[in-house]
Symmetry: C2
Subunit: 341 residues, 2 copies
């Protein structure tokens, strides 16, 4: 006995339980599924047999006959940052609270299309009731095609498809809010560090440009990405570069803003006195006294709830029509922005 059990003895099946309890397989099944049509005597006999053998029903066997896996597949692509972790928490607690006998499982989508596709294939083979894509790198077309095989909810990215649900922040609006805030403070030379081909980056860029043009000023785009290094790089370039430093910057996200601030401050630039900076995402870090960054909040919590609701609706009710939900972002004013001097 002990550890070699596992090696020699295979897992007990429903047959073993039936035999040990002196009843039929069917009865064991009824007991396991809490059927009322079982005598107390049989029930206790079966339950103790289950206990003694350490029996666990096989999800595979049950799934086969039920034609239902009870799984929800979540494919996480790109970086697993805090943002996604919070959404995940939302999904898990929603499923738990609503007593849905459905288990969310996360698969690693990796950083490229190929591994993401592989992860999605796994979901399809596992027959997950629904596939949730967090930050997909696939084309709209590919995703649309998957949406015809299984309910798909995509998070954090805009998409045009009638076949799938979309939960996303209104990044365009968010960037508009950020830019408008700076314009209202009297800034005119406002630059935007772009998010490269990150999720929602082009919308943020569009929002920024629209607002600038609407106010009659020329947009200034600085190519970047969602990594902190793009902030530090930009900082160095601004310090060393020939041109004037803009009086305000709309950063692609908080990390970029923080990297930028860090370099500028070390270079003797005062923030917000010389340069105002707005971030995006309102990550925990942004609220820290050292940064106290003005930023755009995505209401991640609301997003998590929405995703969970959609996932469940689609997974459980096949009549449900796909929908697109845009979460409204909000401006959070802290101390990295002030009136233009």
């Amino acid at each position: 006995m002990g550890s070699e059990d596992r090696l020699t003895r295979k897992r007990p099946t429903i047959r073993d339980v039936a035999e040990r309890a002196g009843v039929s397989k069917s009865l064991v099944s009824l007991v396991v599924n809490d059927s009322p049509r079982v005598s107390d005597k049989s029930r206790t006999a079966v339950l103790s047999a289950i206990d003694e053998l350490g029996y666990r029903p096989s999800a595979a066997a049950r799934g086969l006959v039920n034609q239902r896996s009870g799984l929800v597949g979540i494919v996480m692509s790109g970086s697993h940052d805090v943002f996604y972790a919070e959404i995940l928490e939302g999904v898990a607690s929603y499923l738990a609270e609503n007593q849905l006998d459905t288990v969310p499982i996360i698969l690693h989508g990796g950083h490229n299309r190929e591994s993401e596709s592989k992860a999605i294939d796994q979901c399809l083979e596992l027959r997950t009731e629904c596939v949730m894509l967090m930050g997909s790198a696939l084309s709209d077309d590919s995703i649309d095609r998957i949406g015809r095989e299984v309910p798909v909810v995509i998070v954090g990215r805009r998409m045009n498809s009638e076949a799938i649900d979309v939960v996303s922040c209104d990044d365009e609006l968010g960037a508009e809010l950020a830019t408008k805030h700076l314009l209202d403070l009297g800034h005119r030379r406002i630059a935007h560090i772009t998010g490269g081909n990150g999720n929602g980056a082009s919308e943020r860029e569009t929002g920024y440009c629209r607002m600038m043009e609407q106010a009659g000023f020329k947009p200034t785009l600085i190519a970047g990405g969602y990594d902190m290094k793009y902030g530090t790089e930009t900082g160095h370039r601004l310090l060393e570069g020939p041109g004037d430093i803009p009086t305000a910057v709309v950063a692609a996200n908080d990390l970029v803003a923080i990297g930028l601030m860090d370099v500028l401050r070390k270079g003797g630039v005062r923030i917000p006195d010389d340069v105002s900076i707005v971030g995006y995402d309102d990550i925990v870090l942004a609220g820290l006294d050292s940064f106290d960054l003005t930023t755009i909040s995505q209401s991640i919590h609301q997003m998590g709830e929405t995703v969970a609701r959609l996932v469940c609706q689609r997974a459980l009710d096949s009549e449900q029509r796909p929908q697109t939900v845009l979460i409204d972002p909000a401006l959070v004013v802290r101390s990295t922005t002030r009136v233009a001097s």
Copy 2:
């Protein structure tokens, strides 16, 4: 056709493919599994039938006959912080690189024993080849019991059991390194903010105390936890409190150190001139210029690789005996520590 397909038509099975290709089920199976004993003609016929129908083998059915799920279950309990994300990345890439046809899936273990147990039960029912526990809240006993049903690897926490693998950092050694560094710099009044009942916290405390006593000084413990707020709280208490502020602090982790620094600096305390601070974990944040925190690095990467290796060994080779691997931490000296004045 289109979206209603999914609602009306069930997924095609191996039979449907066989029928459409005009061959037997067996042959389809052979094609799907790349058997060489299939003529090119049949193979192409089958493959195109698969393509036309959008056939995907059912993991449940295959698992049932193979007696093998091809899944590795990862249960994440407590907070899903960056630390775990990196380890995860390690496991996924190890599995991919080594071409193991095994899929890691993550289940949400929640924040309490009950939900963690539920997640582990799911793994058992899914017949995962192995269960990986990230930061379990269960008792040693419970975990040991699970280790008799399925190979278990536990990460980030010490355990005494012959039945399961353990990958953990040598937190005691890490705290010793941190404390010794400060002692070497001539500090004597060195306080330690503890990590409460967080994973590894008691080992860190032990290491700190041992080093202090060995040097002939009295340990000063400040009850805390792994959250940033414990750093800020401690900061306020030190500033307002009656006693002298210690000349150096070993924080439970980087977040606590950062919270502490933030408050102390705002209160006019210079770091490292007045107080030296050492963190623990070497999170990305610690390397940022704004903090540039001296800390203990856990070599998360090495940890991820080790976990992955153990998971695979145990999952694939049942002869493998469980082992305990302690990762050596390293001191990273930055600018928050200096010689005692």
